[in-house]
C-alpha cells in the first residue's frame, strides 16, 4: 500500500511538473526564471514548498517529539529570517537582477570579480544544503521501501536531475507549489486528528503489527534497592519475573557531579512458551510472537518456558514513582551486536530487518489530577496539558556501550520528565547551567545557541534557492506579495509542526533509532493510508528543495561563472544547454555527497548552510543596498572572507573533529556553529575594504532601495 501511494506520488509530480515546463525552456529567460510569468500566489506557496525541507518537516517534528520545546526553537529561527527577506531583500532583488543574486549585487558595479565571487558562494551554499537533503532522502526511503540508503539517494538524484534539466525553473516552481500545498493540507489534517485524539495514558493502539494497529506497554515493577543504590538477587525476588538473574550492570555517571544518572541491568529470565509446529515453540517477546527451537525450552512445574536476556532500567526518582515505592525496574529495549556480527533485538535473533522489531516509544504516563485521558482537546489546551508540572512524559532515550568480550550494546529506554521541563529550553541546547558544570562550558553552550539563532535569522534571505525565486514573478510588488504568502504559509506550518511533534509523543509514534521518522509514524498511528500519503509528501519535499538548489547552482555556474570565465558573449541557446549540463553534473555530485555523508546528523548540515549563506551573501547584499560608500572590492572581499571563514571554522570545529575520528574537545574551534564569528567578520571586512578603496569608485552611488 505504502509503496503504491509512494510511486503514484512521484509519478504524478513528474508528469505535472514536466508538462508545466514543456515548451518554456527554449530561452534562458524561460529556463532560469520561468519567463518571470509566475503568479505571486503560486510563487508564495512555491517559496514555502521549496523552503520547508525535510529538516523542517521531519527534523523539527522529530526534535519536538524527542526534546520538546528546543525543537520549536528551530521553527522560530527558520521563520524569523523571512522578515529580513520581505522587508529589505525581496523588492530590490527583483528590481536589480535578471536571473541570479549575483546580477543584483553587480548591477551598479559591473565587475566580473563580483559575479565570480558571488557565483562561487552560491555554488558552495547550494552544495552544503544539498547534502542533508540527499542524506534525508536515503534515510526516508530506507525503512519505507526497504531499499538500501544509496539506492534511495540515487533515485532522488535521478528524479531531480530529470526535472531540473528538462523543465528548468517552471517545473521546479510547480514541484515546489504542489509540495507546499500538500504539506500545509496534510499537516492540518494530522493536527486535527491529534487534537481529536487528545492525550490518553491508557493503552492506545499506535503501532502497525500483524493484526493491524496494536500497542505495547513496557512493564514496570516495584522493588527495593541495596545500600549502594543498585539491585541484587534478593531484590529481584520481590518482582514477578521468573527465575531472574543479573548478567550485566551498566551505570552512567554525571560528568560533573559524579552522581549516577542511569542504571541499566541485563537480566536473564524465563518467559512462558507455547507449542507450535513440530519441534517449535512460540513465546511473546515485548508483545511480538517469536519462534523458538524445542531445545531452548525448559519445563518448570510442567509448563514450557524459554530463557531470554533483556535490559531493564532502575527508576529511583520519587517524582516518577508511585507513593511509598522505593524504586521500580522498568523494561527497556536493546540491540546487541556480538563480535562475530550476530545481532540480537531484545535478546532475539530476527535476521534481516531486525531493527524494525524494536517497539515504538514515547507517551504521556500521568496527567494532572490523575485523569486517564483528556478526550478531544483544543490547540491551546493540548500545549497547556503537556507543559503542566504534574504531567509525566516518557521520552525515548538511548545509551550505547560495550560489554565484556567486545559486544556492542544499545539500550533504548523511557526517560520520565515533568511537563514543565519538556516545554522549556534546555533538553537539546544545554543553555541552562548544570550543577558542577565549568563556567566556560556554559558560556560555550550559550554562544553556540546564540550563533545558531543568528545564522537562522540572517541566513534565510541569503539562501540561493530562495533568492532565485524573486525572478520568477513579473514585478517587485509581486515579489513582495509572494514573500508575504510565504511567511503566512511557513508560519502556519511551523505552528502545525508543533502539533505533529507533540502528537508523535503522546501517540507513541517514535522510532527509538531515529528522530526523523516521527511525522510519518504519527500518521501511521491513525491508519496505513495516511502513513503512505505523508511518506509520499516527505519524498516530494526532498524533490522540491533539491530541485531549487540544483536550479540555483545551475543558474550560477552557467550565468555567472561561465560567462565571466569565457569573457565573450554566449548565445542564448548555449546558455540554456550549459544550464542543463550543469544541473546534471551538480545532481551527480549531490548524489555522491549524499552517499558519502550517510549517517551524519542532517540538522548539523542544515544549520551550517544557513551560517555560510549568512556570512558570505548577506553582508554584501545589505551594504550594497544601504551604504553608498560600498565598493566592488569591499563586496568581493566580504563574500570571500565570509565564505572561507564560515566553512573553515566548520571544518576545524568539534563536530567535524568527531567526524574525523578525533576528540571533539581538542578541536581548535570550540564552537559548532560559526555564525557568531564569521558573520561579523564579513560585515567588518566590507566596511574596512570599502573605506580603503574609496578612490576606486568615487562616483558610485548605491541605489535608494
Amino acid at each position: 500500500m505504502a509503496l503504491i501511494v509512494f510511486i503514484v506520488f512521484v509519478v504524478l509530480v513528474l508528469i505535472v511538473s514536466s508538462r508545466a515546463g514543456r515548451g518554456k525552456t527554449a530561452t534562458s529567460g524561460g529556463y532560469y526564471a520561468a519567463n518571470s510569468s509566475i503568479h505571486w500566489g503560486v510563487n508564495g506557496i512555491a517559496f514555502a514548498g521549496g523552503y520547508l525541507s525535510v529538516a523542517s518537516f521531519l527534523g523539527i517534528a522529530g526534535l519536538i517529539a524527542f526534546f520538546g520545546y528546543d525543537g520549536f526553537l528551530y521553527s522560530i529561527g527558520f521563520l524569523a529570517g523571512w522578515i529580513v527577506a520581505l522587508f529589505v531583500i525581496a523588492e530590490p532583488m527583483k528590481r536589480m537582477g535578471t536571473f541570479t543574486f549575483s546580477d543584483a549585487l553587480n548591477k551598479n558595479y559591473n565587475r566580473p570579480g563580483i559575479q565570480l565571487a558571488a557565483g562561487l558562494s552560491v555554488l558552495v551554499v547550494s552544495l552544503v544544503y544539498l547534502v542533508p537533503q540527499m542524506v534525508g532522502a536515503g534515510v526516508l526511503v530506507e525503512p519505507l521501501l526497504g531499499i538500501p540508503h544509496y539506492i534511495g539517494v540515487i533515485i532522488v538524484g535521478a528524479v531531480v536531475i530529470f526535472l531540473v534539466a528538462g523543465g528548468g525553473m517552471t517545473s521546479t516552481t510547480y514541484v515546489q507549489f504542489f509540495n507546499g500545498g500538500l504539506l500545509l493540507t496534510f499537516a492540518s489534517v494530522l493536527t486535527i486528528a491529534v487534537l481529536v485524539r487528545g492525550v490518553d495514558t491508557t493503552d492506545l493502539p499506535r503501532e502497525e503489527g500483524p493484526r493491524g494497529l496494536e500497542s505495547y506497554r513496557f512493564e514496570h515493577m516495584a522493588l527495593s534497592v541495596g545500600e549502594e543504590g543498585g539491585i541484587h538477587r534478593e531484590s529481584l525476588a520481590q518482582t514477578p519475573l521468573r527465575a531472574p538473574e543479573i548478567l550485566t550492570t551498566h551505570v552512567e555517571y554525571d560528568e560533573y557531579t559524579g552522581e549516577p544518572v542511569l542504571r541499566l541491568y541485563q537480566l536473564s529470565r524465563l518467559i512462558p512458551a507455547e507449542p507450535a509446529a513440530a519441534g517449535e515453540y512460540t513465546a511473546r517477546v515485548k508483545g511480538r510472537t517469536v519462534k523458538f527451537d524445542a531445545n531452548r525450552v525448559e519445563e518448570v512445574d510442567g509448563a514450557p518456558f524459554v530463557r531470554i536476556e533483556d535490559w531493564w532500567r532502575l527508576e529511583q526518582d520519587p517524582r516518577f514513582l508511585p507513593t511509598g515505592t522505593e524504586a521500580e525496574l522498568r523494561e527497556a529495549q536493546s540491540i546487541t551486536t556480538k563480535p562475530d556480527g550476530t545481532q540480537l533485538v531484545n535478546g532475539v535473533e530476527f535476521g534481516l530487518g531486525a531493527q524494525t522489531q524494536l517497539r515504538q516509544m514515547g507517551r504521556v504516563s500521568d496527567l494532572p489530577d490523575g485523569e486517564g485521558a483528556t478526550g478531544a482537546v483544543g490547540p491551546i489546551g493540548l500545549l497547556s496539558v503537556l507543559s503542566d508540572e504534574n504531567t509525566s512524559i516518557q521520552l525515548a532515550r538511548a545509551a550505547g556501550f560495550r560489554i565484556d568480550g567486545g559486544t556492542e550494546v544499545s539500550v533504548y529506554y523511557e526517560k520520565p520528565v515533568a511537563g514543565d521541563e519538556y516545554m522549556r529550553p534546555g533538553m537539546r541546547f544545554p543553555v541552562i547551567a548544570r550543577e558542577g558544570e565549568p563556567e566556560i562550558t556554559t558560556r560555550l553552550n550559550r554562544l553556540n545557541f546564540i550563533s545558531l539563532m543568528l545564522a537562522l535569522f540572517l541566513g534565510t534571505s541569503a539562501l540561493p534557492h530562495i533568492l532565485i525565486r524573486y525572478y520568477t514573478v513579473p514585478s517587485a510588488a509581486a515579489a513582495r506579495k509572494s514573500t508575504i504568502v510565504a511567511i503566512a504559509g511557513i508560519g502556519l506550518f511551523y505552528v502545525l509542526t508543533m502539533y505533529l511533534g507533540v502528537g508523535a509523543l503522546v501517540g507513541g509514534a517514535n522510532n527509538p533509532l531515529t528522530d526523523n521518522m516521527s511525522a510519518p509514524l504519527l500518521a501511521r498511528s491513525f491508519n496505513e493510508p495516511l502513513f503512505a500519503v505523508v511518506s509520499g509528501i516527505a519524498f516530494t519535499t526532498v524533490l522540491a528543495t533539491t530541485s531549487g538548489l540544483i536550479m540555483a547552482a545551475s543558474g550560477t555556474v552557467a550565468h555567472d561563472l561561465m560567462v565571466n570565465l569565457v569573457r565573450r558573449e554566449i548565445p542564448d541557446k548555449t546558455k540554456v544547454f550549459a544550464g542543463r549540463i550543469v544541473a546534471v553534473v551538480v545532481g551527480v555530485i549531490g548524489i555522491g555527497l549524499g552517499i558519502a555523508f550517510r549517517g551524519v546528523n542532517v540538522s548539523y548540515l542544515v544549520g551550517w548552510a544557513f551560517a555560510v549563506a549568512a556570512s558570505a551573501n548577506l553582508p554584501s547584499l545589505l551594504f550594497m543596498l544601504f551604504w553608498k560608500r560600498t565598493t566592488a572590492a569591499g563586496i568581493i572581499a566580504s563574500i570571500l572572507v565570509g565564505l572561507v571563514s564560515s566553512v573553515g571554522l566548520i571544518l576545524i570545529g568539534p563536530d567535524m573533529w568527531g567526524i574525523y575520528g578525533l576528540d571533539p574537545a581538542q578541536a581548535p574551534m570550540p564552537l559548532d556553529q560559526p555564525g557568531i564569528i564569521s558573520i561579523p567578520l564579513s560585515f567588518i571586512t566590507i566596511i574596512v575594504v570599502s573605506l580603503a578603496t574609496q578612490k576606486e569608485k568615487p562616483q558610485q552611488a548605491a541605489p535608494a532601495s
Partner: protein
Amino acid sequence: MAEDRPSAFEAYERRKVRLGVRMTLLYAAVYAGFVVLNVFFPPIIQKSGLFGLNLALTYGLGLIILAVVLALLYNWLCGVPPTEREEG
C-alpha cells in the same frame, strides 16, 4: 513608466525602504529579546504566560504571529506605487 516621474516614484520607494528597515529592526529586537530570555533568564521564561502556557511558548508562538501580522501590515502600508495608481 517610473523613469518618467522619478520624484514621486523615488519618494514612494524611499518611504518603503524606511518602513522596511524600521520593521526589520523592530522584529529583530523582539527576536533578540526572545533569544536573550531563553539563554540568560531561564527562570523567567518558565513563568506563566497567556492561556495557561508558559512564557517560553507564549513568546515563541507570539513571534510567529507577529511575523505574519507585520508582513500584512507592511503590504497594506506600502499601498500601490504611484505609477500603478495613475495607470489605474
